[in-house]
Amino acid sequence: MNKTDALIIGAGPTGLFTAHQLKLIGLDCEIVDNLDKIGGQCIELYPDKPIYDIPAVPECTGEELTNNLINQLKPFDIKFHLSERVDEVKKDTDKWIVKTSKGKTFSTPNVIIAGGVGSFEPRKFAPKECEKFENKSLFYSIKDKKIFEGKAVTIFGGGDSALDWAVELSKNSKVNLVHRRDEFRGAQATVDQVKELEKSGKINVFTKFQLSKVNGSNEIESIDIKHDNNEIKNIETDYLLGFFGLIMQLGPIANWGLNIDKKTIQVDTEKFETNQKGIYAIGDICTYPGKLKLILSGFHEGALAARACFKLARPNEKYRFEFTTTSSNLLKRLGKKSD
């Protein structure tokens, strides 16, 4: 059981800055995120897109913003638990017991949900029968590429993941690549590589096709793909891979007894506390009159939620407001010498 003053769910910009605020006022915290990397939507959806409305930062990309926030956390020791989803939050007298998908448990008086629009999950194939093959002969990510050796693999998607795996697997497998349109959005060099491999017969490319049916009882025998003009083709394949990107799902958060309205959590604007004492929601996932889904709003919400955490984590101490410019206390925590 991990004990901490505050557990943050979500390692996006809001969660990161809130960790900074917590550490600055002398609380410890840990962060859990379902993605395998730090940065949330900024790193998953728009790492290269410039952002123009961060105060005092005229222009930065999602990746730069993330790196700056990570740098800002350098003075502090913060434990990240990546590739883990928080599945359960349960009350135990005056603490919350939090369980993750990897079986870790935390005991904490404060849970801060900075979960964006929920956790990122792979977008799945539409036909119903796909479910029964999932993780057996149908995958949305690859853990062990050896299983595909000498087999026929059909890859769906038009982005970097689909193209990279098509190139890689074509070395030892028979690869079909299926995409819903003629243009691929992956890196040009990889697109060119796929076209070369198509010419030399290493990859079969089917564009303007989508999956319509999977045939087979226990194992996949073949699939039907449907062209934009309704023509249907049958392809024999052993494995099916779907790389349609990630979508955001609210997931287990819906089961924690919080007031949820249109996938957002209702909070007050003093502590950003939910209807459950000690559970806060900040950033894109929270809602209140006048809410703006801006990164800067998340920073403000996190700063206030952090102060609210102090009361529950240190019930016998009084929180005193201080500036980083003048407080020797804060400077010490930041690892700086005071004048």
Partner: protein, 106 residues
């Protein structure tokens, strides 16, 4: 005001007068039309405001930007007549536009 018709997956039609300048997505969200999630709030950073426009409207709408097509790759069951409703700005030219909302977004 421009009349936009939203057809939800249960075949119910919702005729809504949407203020010009708003997007087709905002028209749906503000009037509680189910099935348009708009997770990213209209930033073309997700595909949860995906709709199918009636064939006869395909050529009348402004062309898709690359970013919209890229996002549609990640939509649930995209088709030739798929659009992101956050990219369709309501104006007099859209009077009578009908969009079908997919059975699900996520």
């Amino acid at each position: 005001m421009t009349k936009i018709t939203y057809v939800t997956h249960d075949s119910k039609t919702h005729e809504i007068d949407v203020q010009n300048g708003l997007t087709v997505m905002e028209g749906a969200v503000q009037n509680d039309i189910p099935g348009i999630d708009a997770d990213c709030g209209g930033g073309m950073a997700c595909a949860t405001c995906h709709v199918y426009v009636k064939e006869e409207w395909l050529d009348k709408l402004p062309k898709k930007e690359d970013g919209e097509e890229d996002m549609l790759d990640m939509a649930f069951e995209p088709k030739k007549n798929s659009r992101l409703s956050c990219q369709l700005i309501v104006s007099d030219d859209l009077e009578g536009l009908t969009v079908d909302i997919p059975s699900k977004q996520a």
